[in-house]
């Protein structure tokens, strides 16, 4: 086990845990935002740099601070490590710039984007960004591309988190989905727009943190906050069959995987469960899905998540949270 202190709160975690995972075990008050890391996607993380933190003490053995900010999602804890996240001005400033970088080419078309309301970039900007923009250059745009019958890629909104690329690599066979071109011309592509024809391709929609990959069966049907997620399951020979059904009145508008407290999918589901089973009679409906009370979707309801309890959390000292410089 390794003891690590994050923003003044100490926690003991198994060796090999990343700083981000340790912070999440303590809770949202110290957990850095993560746009490209996804707990269920192997080798994800490291790209977006929103989770950068400051390591002011490397470990008990080697107490030197780390010279640069480090991506918490790809840095493992060491015994005795001390980390500052929201309590470091350097981190808060850097993160504000990262948000700015992610937004300078983003279309900001939330009013017509299906992801609005469950978009990680919206949350990130709201919590860490600035209200003003410092650029009036033309933004980068791409044409929309259909990836098969049910998925649409709207590259203009993409933040190049690489999550979908990795999902395509890891859970679908015969990889046809990747990144072409370089730098700010880089784009997600299915190489000559080949359709991904695979039972699990729909999961790229769930891992996309923004509205770049959307479910065509749900497009423009409703704002998400007018729908109610219900946990449901069915016997499926391809996947666990455990989904969230998003209801508007009696009608099932879409099916998605179930997301955890951090907005990350718990289990990948197959395309049949996602796109084809849109009748209540296809499902055993369990109960309302848990939605974070901060989410606009929870305006209608229900319960909040409970924190894990198996880890000992010690409040060592309370540090002041850095003022956001606006």
């Amino acid at each position: 086990m390794a003891k690590v202190t994050i923003d003044g709160i100490e926690i003991e975690v198994p060796e090999g845990t990343t700083i981000l995972q340790a912070a999440r075990l303590i809770g949202p008050e110290v957990a850095p935002p993560a746009m490209c890391y996804h707990s269920k996607v192997k080798t994800s993380g490291g790209y977006c740099r929103t989770c950068l933190v400051e390591v002011s003490k490397g470990s008990e053995k080697d107490p030197r601070p780390m010279p640069k900010l480090v991506p918490s999602c790809r840095t493992t804890v060491m015994d005795g490590m001390e980390v500052s996240n929201f309590t470091s001005k350097k981190v808060v400033d850097a993160r504000k710039s990262i948000v700015e970088f992610l937004l300078i080419n983003h279309p900001l078309d939330c009013p017509i984007c299906d992801q609005a309301g469950e978009c990680h970039l919206q949350d990130l900007s709201y919590e860490n960004g600035s209200a003003k923009t410092r650029t009036d250059f033309e933004r980068r745009t791409f044409n929309k591309i259909d990836i098969g019958n049910n998925i649409q890629l709207h590259m203009t909104r993409c933040i190049l988190c690489y999550r979908c690329v990795k999902v395509a690599e890891q859970i679908t066979d015969g990889r046809v989905h990747g990144v072409i071109n370089r730098g700010d011309h880089a784009e997600i592509s299915t190489y000559v727009a080949q359709a991904i024809d695979n039972d699990f391709s729909g999961n790229v929609i769930d891992v996309c943190p923004v509205g770049a990959l959307t479910d065509k069966t749900f497009r423009f049907k409703s704002r998400v906050w007018f729908t109610k997620p219900m946990q449901a399951h069915r016997d499926c020979d391809k996947c666990s069959g455990k989904v969230n059904l998003w209801y508007k009145g009696e009608e099932v508008l879409r099916g998605t995987g179930r997301k955890d407290q951090w907005g990350e999918i718990e289990e990948f589901i197959c395309n049949t469960c996602r796109f084809d089973k849109k009748k209540t009679s296809d499902w055993v409906v369990e109960k309302p899905a848990s939605i974070s009370h901060q989410s606009v979707i929870s305006a209608n309801h229900y319960e909040v998540f409970t924190k894990p309890t198996e880890f000992k959390i010690n409040i060592v000292k309370t540090l002041p949270i850095e003022e956001k410089t606006n």
Partner: protein, 444 residues
């Protein structure tokens, strides 16, 4: 004349070919290494020599070699970085073109020291004509028993391949290079793990620059101490400098570390002074990525001492008043040079070459180019100059690989030392357009 090691025989007629190279003592280091030395003893000599990586970062080579993991039954690899794409740097090209066997010899000796049985030279696609030169040299080395199975009857096997990149600056970053060598998109890897632990195909790997590997030959032949006797302080040995810009004699020079910058620019042995008797304005001393310095700071340090051509000499004063030796791409600018235009060229380069994985570099490099373009076309404001400063400061240190830093430093240093030119450009674009009439027609 300064002592030469790498380019000593460069003017020998026929040195490109095996016969001549062998006649002047070529491949002696291989013989000495495989027949009379243990791999560890070679690593020791390299440590003693004080040799530091010539690819840009200047990391001690002996130390890098001793970090190489050696798990039982796992292959190890040596990869030579011949991607040489840093603007202003063309020394590896010269060395490989003129005296290819020196690199091949260095590769064999170094591979033996590291226990590698397969080694690669990763060369940039634009050097296609050098590929042929290297392949011919490798063929000759095989034919004469320096490569292949059971080298010189010692039981040591080594195969050497040349791999041609497709022409990307980023593939010079060592982990992007390894990805590319594996046949994938050349994206830098997220570190750790470092190549010494997990490199090519997940195996322990050393990546070294062409010049670094070529330097190993003389270290093995004459001993680490003899090499360390050259140079100054922790900058031992000689260094190839690619000199370009407004000088009388552009070219590749081998210098002994520690000569003065002034000597290098003005003496007839090297650059031969500024072209057309003009005055020196600024120098980018180590390839496009390192901070630009104005004449007064490149010739003398902030303390008023003569600045030396060495790792420590060039970095004296930190980034406030110093720069870096980098890869030794020495770009000289005379008094007519427009720093703003020059910076725009660099900004365009880094934007073009960013791999696009991490957001600060992908978005930041593009943004900086756009702002530079705006300033250059007379639409800039003072706020734009401040914004440029702010953007570079937020890229630096926050990216996956050092390309982000490399894109930030030229901007930071140009503003730090030549802010008044940016302000002039912003306030009075017309006057400057006049002066730079030629350049502007190209831009339009």
């Amino acid at each position: 004349m300064g002592r030469k090691i790498l380019l000593k025989h460069i003017n020998e007629p026929g040195i490109q070919g095996y016969e001549t190279y062998r006649r002047i003592g070529g491949y002696a280091s291989v013989e000495k290494a495989v027949k009379t030395m243990t791999p560890d003893a070679i690593v020791e000599e390299v440590k003693k020599s004080g040799l530091r990586g010539r690819g840009g970062a200047g990391f001690p080579t002996g130390m890098k070699w001793s970090f190489l993991a050696k798990p039982e039954g796992v292959n190890r690899y040596l990869v030579c970085n011949a991607d040489e794409s840093e603007p202003g740097t063309f020394k590896d090209r010269y060395l490989m073109e003129k005296i290819p066997h020196l690199l091949i010899e260095g590769m064999i000796t170094s591979s033996f020291a590291l226990g590698a049985h397969t080694s690669y030279i990763y060369i940039r696609g634009e050097y296609f004509y050098i590929v042929n030169i290297l392949e011919k040299a490798i063929e000759e080395a095989y034919a004469n028993g320096w490569l292949g199975k059971n080298i010189l009857g010692t039981g040591y096997d080594l195969d050497l391949y040349v791999h041609v990149g497709a022409g990307a600056y980023i593939c010079g970053e060592e982990t992007a290079l390894l990805e590319s060598l594996e046949g994938k998109r050349g994206n830098p890897r997220i570190k750790p793990p470092f190549p010494a632990i997990k490199g090519l195909w997940g195996c322990p790997t050393v990546v070294n620059n062409v010049e670094t590997i070529a330097s190993v030959v003389s270290i093995v032949n004459d001993g680490g101490d003899a090499y360390a006797a050259l140079g100054i302080g922790r900058s031992t040995g000689t260094k190839l400098i690619s000199a370009s810009g407004h000088i009388n004699k552009p070219g590749v020079y081998e210098i002994e570390m520690g000569i003065t910058v002034e000597d290098f620019i003005y003496s007839d042995e090297y650059c031969g002074g500024i072209l057309n008797g003009k005055k020196l304005k600024a120098v980018v001393a180590g390839g496009s990525s390192v901070p630009i310095l104005p004449a007064e700071l490149i010739l003398k340090t902030a303390n008023g001492e003569k600045r030396l051509m060495s790792y420590e000499g060039l970095s004296d004063g930190g980034f406030a008043t110093g720069t870096m030796l980098g890869s030794g791409g020495f770009i000289v600018m005379d008094e007519t040079t427009n720093i703003v235009q020059n910076l725009y060229t660099f900004a365009r380069f880094y934007h073009h070459e960013s791999c696009g994985q991490c957001s600060p570099c992908r978005e930041g490099t593009a943004w900086m180019e756009k702002i530079m373009h705006k300033i250059l076309h007379g639409h800039g404001t003072l706020a734009d100059v401040d914004l440029l400063w702010e953007i570079q400061s937020k890229i630096e240190g926050n990216t996956i690989c050092p390309l982000g830093d490399a894109a930030a430093w030229p901007v930071a240093s140009a503003i730090r030392h030549f802010r008044s030119e940016f302000e002039e450009y912003v306030k009075n674009p017309e006057s400057i357009k006049e002066v730079n009439h030629l350049y502007n027609t190209q831009l339009a």
